[in-house]
Assembly symmetry: C2
């Protein structure tokens, strides 16, 4: 199975960690003219992998005819590249969001509708596969806290010094679609309920010379049955904090409360307050390959990837306009 990687600006490390027997990274190319490929090349070299290098990813796809494409260029460029890999009927492991505008998302949705029996694609929602997230999902599905009524989620990152393309909305897409989208995926995955409306705010004030990049944001969602979900997003995690990120989820149910933070899962219910032993972690690219080969299933589907992207773009629209946005989820 031949893999081509386009771009070096996203989570290609999922691919390097999820390679299977009989899969090979045969070639790489930037997703656009000025993309720096150094980081991917170094990571490949460290693994002793020496793919061909192309300047033009379209030429690479035409000549190499890969089974799998990995798309992780500048975030605003990924939707166009994904559209092309899908047009060529190449299974694609794509950076999230799968589009940075609702127009591009609509094009991808329509195209995928026509080819979905032959081609698989998914977005890099690798956080789901961490041990504490899988454990939380299992506990929620077995109704350890009853019916979910409220979710509070958090994404907090260190800002550091980001690449230049983060400073332009056109190339970056925005902080809600780039960072907040993970929490949207958790909410969708944990509840399985329809999103009915969103209100969001975001701000680039105090972004330490990062141009248009928003460093703080809040989102409020109303889901079916008056279930509420919040996201708090910031890039202000201090440099000296022990980890890069501080992901959290608090799920309030009719029979208990589940909390996920610092790689732990705590449940309070009629059994008292307990830290729960974690399930083993899994690997998104490895499951992606199993889905493509027909030997298994990828937990994150193309539909999940499209949905989380759509909700994130509507949340960004709410934050841009100050309006509550009604959502017509199918």
């Amino acid at each position: 199975m031949k893999i081509c990687i386009i771009g070096s600006s996203g989570h290609y490390h999922y691919v390097l960690k999820g390679l299977q027997k009989n899969t090979k990274i045969v070639a790489i190319a930037p997703g656009c003219a000025n993309e720096d490929m150094t980081s991917l090349k170094r990571a490949l070299r460290e693994l002793g992998i020496e793919p061909k290098e192309y300047e033009d990813y379209q030429k690479m796809l035409d000549l190499e005819k890969p089974d799998v494409a990995v798309v992780n260029s500048f975030f605003g460029r990924n939707p166009g590249i994904l559209f092309e890999t899908l047009q060529r009927k190449i299974h694609t492991f794509a950076e999230k969001p799968v589009a940075t505008s609702l127009e591009d998302l609509e094009k991808i949705k329509r195209l995928y509708e026509t080819i979905k029996d032959d081609v698989f694609f998914t977005a890099m929602f690798g956080l789901r596969y961490k041990a504490h997230f899988l454990t939380a999902k299992a506990l929620l599905d077995s109704k350890e806290i009853g019916e979910i009524r409220l979710l509070n989620t958090q994404k907090s990152y260190k800002l550091g010094k980001r690449a230049e393309f983060y400073k332009k909305r056109e190339l970056y897409g925005g902080t809600i679609p780039w960072v907040g989208i993970h929490a949207i995926d958790w909410i969708n995955w944990f509840t399985g309920k329809k999103f009915l409306s969103v209100y969001a705010v975001h701000s680039k004030v105090c972004n330490r010379d990062h141009g248009e990049l928003e460093v703080t944001a809040l989102c409020n969602f109303v889901l079916d049955q008056e279930i509420f979900a919040s996201i708090s997003i910031d890039y202000l995690r201090p440099d000296k904090a022990p980890t890069h990120d501080d992901d959290r989820v608090r799920v309030v149910g009719t029979q208990g409360i589940l909390e996920l933070f610092k790689n732990k899962v705590i449940v309070i219910n009629d059994k008292g307050e307990n830290e729960i032993a974690l399930l083993p972690e899994r690997q998104i690219f490895s499951e992606f390959l199993s889905q493509v080969k027909g030997t298994g299933f990828c937990m994150v589907t193309a539909q999940d990837s499209i949905l989380a992207t759509e909700i994130a773009l509507l949340a960004r629209e709410s934050a841009d306009t100050g309006r509550v946005i009604q959502i017509c989820q199918q």
Copy 2:
């Protein structure tokens, strides 16, 4: 100094714990015909206090002519009672919210404007006086985390079985004004910034036969300078949880993050991650008495009490209507 207590349905325990020399609870009365006074009477008896008992609080005020009135009847009845104690120029320690409608709040504001040089009143925002809240405030004021950009707050309570009056909006006022208002006060106190807009949601689904009482709610505030603040409110804390409430605040600044939970304060900034030694706790009613006597100041002012009530009522209006509400804070 003579104190009269009206009602037995709120936080009169602040009064019992904050009594000073030369202050005496001389009389008590219900705030309305069907209010059960048992709980207050029992608490007074345990302290060996034996006040006169009236059926009619107006008669009590007329005959006893107290220096201080404590107002804590059914929440929807408190604004009317407060209006009368202020009209009589009696210093008043009132349950929050100080009104359950914007119309009543406006009446109280107008009246207070005319008497504020002679009379003091404040609302029972006693949580500010806890050691961890005072410590957090001191750290924020000394810029330990730089400028505040984002606040996430939480109020989570056990529901238990509430008195009948909680089940009617008219008498209860709503969960955002009753519970969420504390977090609104923290946000005001910690930032000192103007509230510019609010979006909120609330739901009475799964409220275990509590009529109109909302058991889940979310609020999003935009403050001056694009500072954002969120509140998550629920009454779904499990019976077996170690404490009745789970109050939390997370404040994200330009130079660090401060967290307040489980009676602790944790700061992450350029000094690393540290749990901070707590300042001593203080007592709201004791400081209220000092203000009235002219021997000191009460940290919670009448203006703070009016402001938090106004913001809470606007948040409730947002949740009732589904609209973003613009706030004209003076």
